[in-house]
Symmetry: C2
């Protein structure tokens, strides 16, 4: 049976979807009984549509897709939360199923969009929004349902993982690693969504919502990026038996949901320590299944299109089968977000400080004042003119106290010589 698809966005992922259709359209019909027919293609690049043979169904106006009565399923691949929101919301209101790869949209407007889908009795699928081609939303919504999930933890941003891997393996600094990533097309000209942890924050909001059955939005996630991570930090981590990853973490605690993104030290023996380069991995801990991990390519045309088209086939299969009830929004609880200040963990903190007598003693005093117990303090890295790097590792401490320590040290005259690097330790 034909299922009529409107595709909006023909960038990397959109073109990847058209590649898959060109290679496998007949397989999908033979194997799954779905004849996917692209009846509308919208983008700012008519050339792409033409190159794939869709020149005659091309439109530059997405409204012509979401309002076309013939279209049954809209694939939204333009990204962002402005036009994309209108695309998805209008399509759902018009009774069309939607498949999207849009993490920012799902992490901010997921609740509203699911209720629109519900009102219209159509499906909204978004496997590609997290982890590229890695199946994770499907497994969480279907395979792992028998578990009380206590933790979901991911390396979900390929750009920063590539940069950290380069810094770790080749000893290059942050700036050089960023330039390299930009040259290879792994990072944008404006890299802030990646390096400041916002991309990862949207993804962990989505994963936490599903894992814990309670809505977590982008603004609930405490996000710190990797701008302050240096090769000194990576070397220090290795000496301690750890690696540094930009980890997105959601945990179910007695108080609610602890959800955050920040540079994290992971033991080298941890399965996720071995996830390098642009690969992604998502680690899930359930009370029955124990530890499980999903690994694969987190970005790129093929992997993301694999997830998008997997959703398209699944939704189309439901249409062909006449299935009108689906698993939609799974947020049936309403758990509080645990304040970041309440976090208790071990901390690694590197301070670039003035190289003069009394500085170390005064810093030690500040840690003591706030009751933060120090496990080790060493001087690391190469000594620059008038400045040294001092690395503290604490015993388990409270985030609130750590912030107070850092603020207090920063407020002292002529002590700090740069931004401190704060890395939380996950054992």
């Amino acid at each position: 049976m034909a299922v009529k698809v409107g595709l909006i966005g023909t960038g990397t992922v959109g073109a990847g979807c058209l590649d898959i259709l060109r290679n496998h359209h007949d397989d999908f019909a033979a194997h799954y009984g779905v004849d996917l027919e692209v009846v509308r293609v919208c983008s700012r690049q008519p050339d792409v549509a033409r190159a794939y043979g869709y020149g005659d169904v091309f439109t530059p106006d997405y409204r012509e897709v979401v309002n076309d009565p013939e279209v049954q399923l809209v694939v939204e691949l333009i990204g962002g939360t402005d036009a994309a929101h209108d695309v998805v919301a209008t399509a759902l209101r018009n009774g069309k199923a939607v498949v999207t790869a849009n993490k920012a949209l799902m992490a901010t407007a997921g609740e509203e969009l699911f209720s629109l889908a519900n009102e219209s009795g159509v499906e909204l699928a978004f496997e590609a929004s997290v982890g590229g081609g890695i199946p994770i939303i499907g497994p969480l919504k279907h395979s792992l349902t028998a578990n009380g999930i206590s933790k979901v933890m991911g390396i979900v941003n390929g750009t920063t993982n590539y940069m950290l891997t380069q810094m770790d393996e080749h000893g290059v600094g942050y700036d050089e690693a960023l330039r390299d990533a930009q040259q290879r097309g792994f990072a944008e000209a404006d890299p802030s969504a990646d390096v400041d942890g916002l991309d990862a924050a949207a993804k962990i909001a989505i994963l936490s919502s599903i894992a814990f059955g309670s809505r977590v939005t982008l603004s609930d996630v405490h996000a710190e990026g990797i701008r302050n991570v240096s090769t000194t930090d990576l070397e220090a981590a290795r000496d301690m038996g750890y690696c540094v990853k930009l980890l997105a973490l959601g945990a179910r605690t007695p108080e609610g949901i602890d959800v955050r993104v920040h540079p994290t030290m992971l033991p080298l023996s941890h399965q996720m320590a071995k996830v390098s380069g642009v690969f992604n991995a998502i680690y899930v801990v359930g009370d029955a299944v124990g530890e499980t991990m999903f690994f694969g390519e987190g970005a790129g045309a093929g992997p993301a299109a694999s997830a998008v088209m997997g959703d398209v086939i699944e939704v189309a299969r439901h249409m062909v089968m006449g299935v009108t009830s689906f698993v939609g929004c799974t947020c049936t609880r309403s758990l509080p977000i645990v304040p970041m200040d309440d976090l208790e963990t071990k901390y690694y903190i590197r301070f670039p400080v003035a190289d003069r007598p009394g500085v170390l003693a005064s810093m030690a005093g500040v840690f003591a004042d706030f009751g933060v117990s120090i496990y080790s303090v060493v001087q690391r890295g190469k000594k620059e003119a008038g400045s040294v790097e001092v690395v503290y590792v604490t015993h388990t401490a409270c985030e609130r106290d750590i912030r107070a320590v850092v603020a207090q040290i920063a407020s002292q005259d002529d002590v700090l010589r740069g931004e401190p690097s704060i890395i939380r330790v996950e054992d």
Copy 2:
């Protein structure tokens, strides 16, 4: 809505399922809308049923479960292919959905059972048959459908992976590793299903059937176990930059499906090289998604019960939703099995041979006679009275020729002093 379940088998996995129900019954009702009600429990151990409060619905006769009109969903956890076949087939014929963890049954009678399910319009689910708690059948049947899968490769037997890890990390021999595994409850008193590769063979038959959309049964799988693997082999592998794993492998080739289980050398840099102990991992390569891996605990009450109960919830959710069309058998093609003799790969072969002049020369002659090109030959291991170990690594060669070489050497008078160890190299 209540869904009435009949549970057959209360061993490790069955008890794990009852634990999950005890912990999460109310969550399942609140979160997924399914009120799972166990109305029949069958086993040889009335004590277990009683301990979980099911004494009054206990029966020692499975026929009382599969023929009970009240039961809507049968969970088969007795294993084997005799009574279990009758349980599953009768339940399906009687219009009951079935969830099973039975790999041997699915790998031998999958086609027949799926056609029974189809005739009755009920579901047959078997996520727990492969990889314990790791979601893999769901992802293959739902998330990765947009891909042409070229390879599925797994460490799917925890017992042998534990043994090989012990041998590799602690230098203990095969016999000691087996005793250790038996003492810890990881291996049966009769370990042949594990150590001879039959358990893994059933699992790769199931995975290959789904990945390639063409029925592969247990008897199609070429299976070799780990009985001939020694610490010498593990040391030699490490020196070459490899590890040795009992790998279950299915590959789509131009000729059909290449499916086999045998000890395999994997580069230490491969993501699967790091899967140690009782953990399992399944590696899938698709034309869009690229490389992806699913990792977790492959055995034990919790993980297996997680997969069983995930299926139970999914099937029950479909009943509650009134979904009467499902994704059932996905074998829509009929591809030939590639004969093992046609395999072309690199080989590592260790021969325990007589320590006397002329043996090496005569062996080299045999390799030459069959046109097998040798990459390296070294003497390894400790020299015992009158015998030495000689290790050959070949360039890419054909299985047929390798077998002829080994047979020819075995047929020579007074050369072999033990079973050769043949390990295929996967680059």
